[in-house]
Symmetry: C2
Subunit: 361 residues, 2 copies
């Protein structure tokens, strides 16, 4: 029969809080079959007569049975879950990434456990904790995510780094940065601007670093000497501060290449409020193509990345690794797209629809 082996009536037999308390045993008992049969019909594995199947399903329904994932995980030795570690979620970037990741993970039958590092006192601890409940982890490489943590994880669980260079067997995926940054910078240079500044912290994240490298490369290609970057963190407020320095002549520039759109937008806004002409006096370009960049006048010239696809790629690679696949030595790079609108000095057409789009790489 299908009775749980000598189940103690001891004090600790309470069901999980809030759970209906039904187990595979109670289902089996009610259906008058063995737990093996219940498992079979629920997994769709093996062959079970339709009559038996019905009985089991009826019992499941009546008892409101919800299998205990932990028990299954223990038995199959797989969590069937992917971990994703991101700094935070403001702005469209990480959200888009997460949507792509979740979507693909779900397709692969994996649930996703999310962890945000910002505001966490002990990131390493949190990550170790996460490692406890997932089969593999995708981490976004940033200043907030010390390589040491990722490396410590490696060797315990498959790790895929999003953005950043592959290292020590940790593979990496990312969007192209250097070339498009060079192309974008060259575009501004071609407008006749001579005093460009890069706003953003190249050491804040690997991708910003690469964008700055592209900025420098474009200058070099013309035999120009790039100015020192204006290192500011990604805060909207920072943009205002930079604008003030621009207005005060403290920063001498006729064009500002920003590490992202938020920065570019807030700088442009402050400049315009002060009565300055954009792009007349200052050309401004950003990165990410956030929604506001389409609605602002002039439209913000920027770079669009296939962020969602990046999330999908990360989930795919991670799954491969969990399935036993070898880590890819080469970084997987997705192409980006320079979006020309008016803020760079180009004649701005209608700003909302069909922006001029050019492919990069």
């Amino acid at each position: 029969m299908a009775t749980p082996p000598e189940r103690g009536a001891g004090p600790s037999t309470a069901p999980i809080a809030g759970a209906s308390g039904a187990t595979i045993y109670s289902v089996a008992e009610l259906a008058g079959v063995s737990i093996a049969t219940v498992s079979r019909v629920l997994q769709g594995a093996g062959t079970v007569s339709s009559k038996t199947t019905e009985k089991v399903l009826a019992a499941v329904d009546e008892l409101n049975y919800v299998p205990l994932g932990a028990a299954r995980s223990l038995a199959v030795r797989q969590h069937e879950a992917h971990g994703l570690v991101l700094p935070e979620l403001s702005g469209p970037y990480y959200s888009e990434l997460l949507m792509g990741f979740e979507s693909r993970a779900a397709d692969l039958g994996q649930s996703v456990t999310l962890m945000l590092t910002d505001g966490k006192a002990d990131i390493a601890r949190a990550v170790r904790q996460l490692a406890t409940r997932v089969d593999g982890i995708a981490v976004f490489g940033s200043a907030a995510m010390p390589p040491a943590v990722a490396r410590a994880l490696h060797g315990q669980k498959p790790v895929v780094m999003i953005t950043g260079e592959p290292q020590d067997g940790i593979e990496s995926v990312g969007a192209e940065n250097a070339h498009s940054a060079e192309e974008l910078t060259e575009h501004v240079l071609a407008h006749g601007r001579m005093r460009l500044v890069f706003v953003g912290d190249p050491d804040g994240a690997p991708d910003i670093h690469e964008r700055h490298e592209g900025f420098v490369a474009a200058h070099r290609a013309r035999g120009l000497q790039p100015a020192e970057p204006v290192r500011v963190p990604f805060r909207e407020g920072e943009g205002e501060a930079v604008a003030e320095r621009l207005l005060a002549g403290e920063i001498d520039a006729d064009a500002v290449v920003c590490a992202n759109d938020e920065l570019a937008l807030s700088i442009m806004s402050r400049l315009q409020d002060a009565g300055r002409d954009v792009p007349g006096e200052f050309a401004i370009v950003g990165w990410d193509d956030v929604m506001a960049s389409r609605y602002v006048r002039p439209g913000m010239t920027t770079v669009r990345q296939p962020v969602r696809e990046l999330g999908i790629l990360a989930a795919d690679r991670l799954h491969q690794r969990v399935q036993g696949g070898e880590p890819l030595a080469e970084r997987q790079v997705l192409p980006t797209q320079v979006i020309i609108r008016g803020s760079c000095g180009c004649a701005s057409s209608r700003s909302t629809p069909s922006p001029t789009e050019r492919r990069t790489r």
Copy 2:
């Protein structure tokens, strides 16, 4: 001694893919103690001599031991994880909610498993699957999340509904909508506008429904008859379409009250491109106070909700429930704030008034 009880050398003794393979047994063996002791030092429970603790920690380190969460979950009968079901993540709303939720959940020692319904073929299935791996679930109430699903869940796991009315013992948390919508509408009415339209689908989500009710209430208070709502989904493209109908005189209005900022923004943009004056010819107001609403000219008049706090509240309530607390019969409502800028017809001051300091990428 600390040897696993007659561990079969059978074929299925392979470790979880990618895992180091160390278990509490191997750690105990290497440290020369029992598994109970290993468990004690790892849980910080009981008392273990510092010497023994050291030995254990050394063994853990040497073996690169990562506990199997599933095994712990099975033993403690708690997943120590909260589930969160959201439609999607575009726009700042859900992201902010998620950040609040994750943050509080982490503080409570719970990991969060995220599920997005958009694009899922079988939502009910996905939710059941999720229920398998968490102690409780917070779901966002929307059209995409049929009440039936939430109800089915209820009785199996604690459920907290975010937005939407409490029902059948499912408690609910949300931000205030009706009153602020009424206040906002009255504000527009006070500008002398007489032909207001509500843009958005009141049946799309409970909170939109409430906003529409506020819209109607404001009219009633003045003895006015509200026009039928222009039912459109939340897509940027829809805004353009609405604008075209406005331009064609197909929709007769001098003010448009939108269900959210994206809609309001795209309508305003299209109208301006067509040479129309906002707020001169059309007053426009939105909801959510997204970033773009601060940068656009005129600034968008809108309503700000404490979204992050809502996420925190949801996590808190869910945790209470998981701990055995009773569901609250009354809906928990967080206050919102009407933000007056220029798009409603008010004299627009500087439009970039000290943006809330938010991190962005």
